[in-house]
């Protein structure tokens, strides 16, 4: 059996702008968007002061996220809750959707994680420029000594790159590992049943693929997907929070 480790499949190419490849990732992204929209719609269809059933779940989710944001970024940054929540949900479901085997994990494509990391860093830069002013922000790169300016610039650019690669690497690596494990287990079954006549082997299912991958999948798909979503949104919170300090601190630094 061949083990192919490839990027997302290209379904077709729209022949404009030099060819737009419609890939599995795009379909998965759309699926996640639709899924989240539908779930959000169902959860908040009838909002009442005395919550019941699904509204409790929605409030719990929003409340947990708000608590996390307030804890990491401070109460004055509550307006970023929807952004962080969108990142978290997109990342989490983007990773988990790969388990359906119908869709490919959106986060197993560097394009997706890079797009999100760039979105985060743009929000960070916007916050910095808005709160401290363009010049003060640029001057910040020459501190503590001007000699470190290139280092500071590199570290600023490295931030989104490292975020993107961390997320992509974890999910894609997990996927690769799972593919290898499936391949290996399939090889193991054909090895064990090698003494049977060839005509019979074709009808024997790859029995070793049952059970063992499930345990690994819990780690590489479920746990890793959750942890990476958490890490990505936590890092976003920290960076955005640093760019949006409390009002008193902005006044002090000006």
């Amino acid at each position: 059996m061949d083990i192919n480790i490839t990027g997302p499949k290209i379904y077709f190419t729209i022949p404009i702008f030099g060819g737009i490849n419609v890939t599995q990732t795009m379909v998965s992204l759309l699926a996640v968007t639709i899924l989240v929209t539908v779930v959000a719609f169902i959860l908040t269809r009838k909002i009442e002061k005395r919550p019941s059933g699904k509204q409790v779940i929605a409030e719990k989710l929003v409340g947990m996220l708000t608590d996390m944001v307030v804890e990491t970024m401070g109460a004055h940054n509550k307006r970023f809750v929807p952004f962080i929540g969108t990142l978290f949900v997109s990342s989490m479901l983007g990773s988990l959707i790969g388990m359906t085997q119908i869709f490919r994990s959106t986060t197993a494509d560097l394009s997706t994680t890079a797009a999100w990391a760039i979105a985060t860093i743009l929000v960070v830069w916007y916050g910095n420029i808005k709160n401290f002013g363009l010049l003060t922000w640029l001057k910040g790169f020459t501190e503590p000594i001007p000699l470190l300016t290139p280092m500071n610039i590199i570290s600023e650019i490295a931030t989104p790159i490292s975020m993107a690669f961390r997320h992509f690497g974890n999910v894609a690596g997990g996927g690769v590992l799972m593919t290898i494990v499936y391949g290996a287990l399939s090889g193991l079954s054909s090895l064990v049943f090698a003494w049977l006549p060839e005509a019979v082997i074709e009808f024997i299912p790859p029995v070793f693929q049952v059970g063992i991958p499930a345990v690994l999948s819990i780690y590489f798909d479920l746990f890793s997907g959750f942890v990476q979503a958490l890490v990505f949104s936590l890092l976003s919170m920290v960076y955005i929070g640093m760019a949006n300090p409390p009002r008193e601190e902005i006044q002090k630094n000006k």
Partner: protein, 166 residues
């Protein structure tokens, strides 16, 4: 026209697509989930705070009213006691006055009675004296058979009788 993207590679159009999805999802979630739920939680929190505040207000009011009533009750009790005390005092005074007056009256009556008695006695004594002196004169006249000048000897007899009567 099937194929695969690179395993590690960035496709610009996929990125654009991811951005669009992120943006759309952001607006949808903000509109559909976060805004209404957060508003609801906030308004509920406010309502609960209001209720607690009101309850506290009522409690303070009740405590104040209770203290007020207790104070009033104490006041009334003290007033009653004072009134009672005053009344008793007044009654005692009146009693004393009445007793004193009664004593005085009794004394006065007694004195007047004594005076009356004395007067009566004197009158009686005088009467007796008169009668006795008359009788003595008559007797003496009879005895001596001589007309005694009544007027001449009256003083003599009187002095005799008064010495006897006493």
């Amino acid at each position: 026209m099937e194929g695969f993207e690179q395993f590690i590679g960035v496709n610009f159009w996929t990125m654009i697509f991811a951005w669009c999805n992120l943006l759309i999802l952001y607006f949808i979630l903000r509109k559909l989930l976060f805004k209404p739920i957060m508003n609801m939680i906030e308004s509920r929190q406010k309502e609960i705070d209001d209720i607690y505040e009101k309850a506290e207000e009522y409690r303070t009011d009740a405590a104040k009213t209770k203290a007020e009533y207790e104070w009033k009750l104490d006041q009334v009790k003290a007033e009653g006691e004072e009134y009672l005390k005053n009344t008793v005092k007044l009654a005692r005074k009146k009693e004393e006055e009445i007793l004193k007056e009664a004593g005085e009256r009794a004394e006065r009556t007694l004195k007047r009675a004594e005076e009356q008695i004395e007067l009566e006695r004197k009158r009686a004594v005088n009467e007796v004296k008169d009668e006795v002196s008359g009788m003595a004169i008559e007797i003496a006249a009879a005895v001596i058979e001589r007309d005694i000048d009544e007027a001449e000897h009256k003083a003599l007899i009187d002095s005799f009788i008064s010495g006897m009567g006493e």
